[in-house]
């Protein structure tokens, strides 16, 4: 279906990534947000708070991130598309409810504008050190989707994508921005509503009598009903059967948890998005994401000017990790260079997928700034030898 034109601010705008993310959410149909202010993410909800009463929806500033991250899920079960926005310390507080969203299959979006950590860290400065937290932060086994925009335009485009994926797979989608992308201002083109594709909620067509909230039919994603529609269904964070009833047997646990994981892993190739260049002749591939991909771009350009055969693989989807792509490349390239604003997180995934068939150079940075292009270049040169 097409976007509701009321939420779409068609035109060319010169706005930062935080504002673009908000416009993406509105274009995607988000009409409910619960937030708690935290630098450098606050602009997203500030804009939403200003915009949403003129579009038809609700924003509430909650008392903390614990509340925000579950209030939005109440909104979803009442029928709204909903999201929340935070940064590291708040993202840590939200972990329990990311697990709840995964377990209850609540489609929603968590935006994390990453800043330096751990703890309060560097409130106004960038990092990309929540990448593993996005994947594994809540307890137990589950799967999520995580996207990494590298420009304000992508903050708009991929926020829509994030909502669409959350609806298609009924998972919480992590939108992993970073402070630089969040606060960087560039032109953002917002197309007309009829050019924006929206994935509608997978609402049940079953009768009240037949409906079972966690019964799957053909695929691994159950259909949903909303409160107030007469289905009188039950939702719980406890291990549950297809009726949604708590069931404490290992069999039910196994069936449920594997399905929660498999609905994402079995579709990983379809979900995985990346941007590639010069991979055909590459000896070395730079794997990067978010703001770092733009720093890497300069290093790649310089390296190629110097005659080095360097390719680019930019992760747009961080989770599920595009393992297959790395595996294929590992058979024919010498090395991967992985610069990131952390002490080596996605580099571990690259190394794992490469399985020893190509070397992985992890180019770490503790955050607070970005790499210098020349530092990436140096490692490219080293890796090319």
């Amino acid at each position: 279906m097409k976007a509701d034109p009321r939420g779409v601010l068609t035109g060319e705008h010169f706005i930062d990534g935080d504002h673009a993310c908000c416009e993406g959410a509105l274009a995607a149909g988000a009409r409910f947000a619960a937030g708690y202010p935290i630098t450098p993410s606050t602009e997203v909800v500030e804009r939403f708070a200003a915009r949403v009463p003129t579009v038809g929806g609700t924003f509430i500033q909650m008392e903390d991130e614990l509340a925000a991250s579950i209030t939005l899920q109440g909104g979803v079960w009442a029928g709204a598309k909903a999201f929340t926005v935070t940064s590291g310390p708040g993202f840590s507080l939200m972990m329990e409810h990311i697990g709840y969203a995964a377990m209850t299959e609540t489609p929603c979006v968590f935006v994390d504008v990453q800043r330096g950590g751990p703890s309060t860290g560097l409130p106004t400065l960038p990092a990309q050190a929540d990448m593993m937290q996005a994947r594994w932060g809540s307890h137990g086994d589950y799967a999520v989707i995580a996207l990494c925009p590298n420009s304000p335009q992508e903050c708009f485009d991929l926020t829509i994508k994030a909502f669409n994926l959350s609806e298609e797979f009924r998972v919480p989608v992590m939108f992993m921005m970073d402070e630089v992308v969040g606060h960087m201002t560039e032109k953002v083109v917002i197309p007309p509503a009829d050019q924006i594709e929206i994935v509608p909620r997978k609402h049940t067509k079953e009768s009240v009598e037949e409906f079972q909230p966690y019964k799957t039919n053909g695929d691994l994603v159950p259909e949903i009903a909303h409160a107030g529609e007469g289905y009188r269904f039950h939702v719980t964070g406890l291990t549950h059967d297809e009726r949604g009833y708590p069931n404490m047997t290992p069999q039910t646990q196994d069936k449920l948890v594997r399905r929660l994981q498999n609905k994402i892993t079995s579709a990983a190739d379809r979900i995985a998005m990346f941007e590639e260049a010069h991979l055909k002749d590459a000896d070395v591939v730079v794997v990067s994401y978010g703001i770092t991909s733009r720093v890497a771009q300069r290093a790649i350009d310089t390296a190629r000017e110097q005659g080095l055969r360097v390719g680019k693989l930019r992760l747009i989807t961080a989770w599920p990790f595009p393992e297959k792509k790395i595996r294929q490349l590992a058979g024919r390239v010498k090395a991967f260079v992985v610069p990131e604003l952390n002490l080596g997180q996605m580099a571990l995934e690259v190394e794992r997928a490469a399985a020893g068939r190509a070397k992985t150079f992890s180019l770490t940075h503790a955050g607070g700034g970005v790499h210098r292009p020349e530092d990436i270049l140096k490692v490219i040169v080293e890796a090319s030898r």
Binding site: F14, V180, M184, E186, P373
Partner: protein, 198 residues
């Protein structure tokens, strides 16, 4: 519009960020170029050191930061002391001449220096707040980097409607000064301005 690195710096409340936004908007919305603005700010809401980086190009901008600015606009002594040494050889330095004393510039770098009493001009127009539009006008005339009409549109598009006229006047005033300004002639410029205002 080849790739040009610009740094604008001063203290909070001078419209440092807005100046960069206006120029970036002119380049990427009202002209067919590309622009990226990044900003650095501390925890202070007002009065702290403030700096914006603007990259303007005819191709998409990858690396969003200034490495060696081609053009620098400084509106405080602190900003001058901190950033002026970064300037590229042959680069352009634009200063708020009442707030910045240009000293210790490496002569060999052949930097072109232009000064304007933007704050005073803005006060003359009735609102100190519009000094950034004076600066933007001055910048536009001096550098020839952007189409003046595009920048004018960007000014109008970026300020609250009740201050639109005033900002456009400020822009025009700055532009006028810039059209006649000569480099390395801060004193002369100051006198010229005083005369104009009288």
């Amino acid at each position: 519009m080849q790739l040009t690195e610009i740094r604008i710096a001063g203290f909070g409340g001078q419209g440092v960020i807005l100046s960069a936004m206006v120029l970036g908007k002119a380049a990427s919305i009202f002209e067919k170029g590309y622009a990226t603005v990044t900003q650095n700010f501390g925890p202070e809401a007002r009065g702290g050191a403030c700096s914006a980086q603007l990259i303007i190009s005819d191709a998409p901008v990858a690396y969003p930061y200034v490495t060696q600015p081609d053009i620098m606009v400084v509106m405080s002594q602190e900003a001058y002391n901190r950033f002026a040494p970064e300037l590229k050889d042959g680069g352009t330095l634009i200063v708020e001449q009442d707030l910045v004393r240009v000293t210790g510039l490496d002569k060999k770098k052949e930097i072109k220096v232009y000064g304007i009493p933007a704050t005073r001009i803005a006060e003359g127009l009735g609102k100190k707040m519009v000094l950034n539009s004076v600066m933007v006008g001055f910048f536009t005339a001096l550098t020839g980097l952007l189409d003046p009409d595009a920048v004018r549109k960007a000014v109008a598009d970026s300020v609250p409607s009740n201050f639109r006229e005033l900002n456009l006047q400020a822009f025009d005033k700055g532009f006028e000064c810039g059209s006649t300004a000569a480099p390395d002639n801060v004193e002369a410029q100051l006198e010229a301005e005083t005369v104009t205002e009288g």
